[in-house]
């Protein structure tokens, strides 16, 4: 089972992922953990660092931003893939995400057809 940590300050994101991956969750292909802030995400990650195969994070959050979270995750786990998900679709933010070591950037509204292979670890997905 692939364990994925999703970080977004909007609580409806959890319901969205649970519904979008309803079948895969039922089949036990994937499991999600949700954090509402960067701080919370770090806590969850540090409690069980080996659990997660992927982290999806929003950028604009009160408190620790998604970029700051990305930076700290890079220090702790350089190999752990992180994909940024943001309503900021501009090239500048995308570039910044790449520079900081994100493996992918997904713009909101999220296109789940694009995100799905990456979440499920299917071949040919680069984020």
């Amino acid at each position: 089972m692939r364990k994925v940590l999703v970080v977004d300050d909007e609580s409806d994101v959890a319901d969205l992922f649970v519904q979008r991956f309803r079948r895969e969750i039922k089949r036990g292909d994937v499991a999600f953990t949700f954090a509402l802030s960067g701080e919370q995400a770090l806590q969850i990650y540090e409690a069980r660092p080996s659990d997660f195969v992927l982290i999806l994070s929003d950028i604009n959050m009160p408190g620790m931003s998604g970029f700051e979270l990305l930076r700290r995750l890079r220090e702790r786990a350089p190999e752990l893939p992180v994909v940024m998900i943001s309503a900021y679709g501009d090239a500048e933010k995308q570039q910044q995400a790449r520079t900081l070591g994100a493996v992918g950037f997904v713009a909101k509204p999220i296109d789940f057809d694009l995100l799905r292979p990456c979440v499920l670890g299917e071949p040919g997905s680069d984020g």
Partner: protein
């Protein structure tokens, strides 16, 4: 003149026959000379008049050309100024665009995705209903519940996006909102807190004393709550910014903001006083102009006070900076509550 003089001479000679007495001949000659002199002077004057009127004509034409040039320049400057205002408005909207896009795309993410999910869930329901035999009621009920939940989210986030756009339009056009009789003190109380939280979000280690004195005698009256909430947000935001800016320069400075409502005759007053650096006399009018800001780029649009001014005027009221606003400032909104 010369001709008339000759006529005169002839007439005189007629009366005096052909040989006038010598004394008169002398006189006549003298008159003659005088007249000739006069004629010459006149000619000179006339010529110089002709000359100077030609010069005047030239000067006039030149002036007219200059005037036309100036008018064209003025028009060009006015056009440029208008363009500049539009450009500045666009630039400020451009600066806002990233923020606005973000604020809209977040709810849109939910609207699109939960709508699509609902469609899929409805298809599943239909499939269930089309299978032979009795459908699984429990499953149908579960699907139905999910659809309901999703549609509720679509609605909620749709309204949220609508609110963002509405606020943006209000900002761009200064449109007046709907009025209803309501509790002004409650509105002030709520938005002072919101403004304070907004400032604290930007300044995590905020040390600011925020005092409220809300006059219980303030009556309920008709106002546009969305619009006046903006006025409170902006005035309190400006006051906090000013005190905090001063604290940065003088670390011992105790930042203090006082918000008061006052029932005064036929009007309600809102006064926001701060102990920041104040507004220099030379800028007291300028600060109300759209796009005038002393804040660093990106920190202020300079639209705050000009929008506040429009909103207060549309309520038939006045917004002014108190005259003694060099040591800290006080902005006073005065709203006649009887006026429509």
């Amino acid at each position: 003149m010369l001709n008339r003089h000759r006529l005169l001479q002839r007439q005189i000679r007629k009366y005096l026959a052909d040989n006038p007495p010598p004394e008169l001949t002398g006189l006549l000659d003298a008159v003659d000379v005088a007249y000739q002199q006069l004629d010459e002077d006149r000619a000179i004057i006339e010529r110089s008049l002709v000359l100077s009127s030609a010069e005047l004509g030239d000067a006039n034409r030149a002036l007219r050309v200059k005037q036309a040039e100036l008018e064209a320049n003025l028009q060009r400057i006015q056009a440029m100024q208008q363009q500049l205002v539009v450009q500045e408005k666009l630039a400020s909207l451009g600066g806002l665009t990233a923020g606005i896009a973000h604020e809209i795309k977040n709810p849109l993410n939910f609207v699109n995705n939960f709508a699509e999910l609902s469609l899929e869930l409805a298809d599943e329901m239909l499939e269930l209903l089309q299978t032979d035999g009795a459908p699984d009621v429990a499953e149908l009920r579960e699907l139905c519940g999910m659809i309901k939940g999703n549609v509720d989210k679509v609605l909620r986030h749709g309204k949220r996006a609508d609110g963002v756009v509405r606020g943006m339009l209000l900002h761009a056009r200064g449109q007046a909102g709907e009025r209803a009789v309501a509790d002004f003190n409650a509105l002030v109380d709520e938005y002072v807190s919101l403004a304070f939280h907004g400032v604290r979000a930007r300044n995590p280690d905020l040390q600011l004393e925020l005092e409220r004195q809300l006059d219980p005698a303030v009556p309920h009256f008709a106002f546009a709550p969305q619009d006046l909430s903006r006025v409170v947000l902006n005035l309190v935001g400006n006051a906090c910014d000013a005190t905090l800016a001063r604290r940065e320069a003088e670390p011992d400075h105790r930042a203090h903001v006082l918000v008061q409502t006052i029932h005064a005759g036929a009007s309600v007053r809102l006064a926001v006083r701060d102990n920041g650096a104040g507004v220099p006399a030379a800028l007291r009018e300028k600060i109300f102009e759209p796009f005038f800001t002393t804040k660093p780029p990106g920190a202020g649009t300079g639209l705050g006070l000009s929008i506040c001014y429009d909103i207060v005027r549309s309520h038939g009221g006045e917004l002014a900076i108190a005259p003694d606003s060099s040591e800290g400032s006080e902005f006073v909104v005065s709203l006649p509550y009887a006026a429509a």
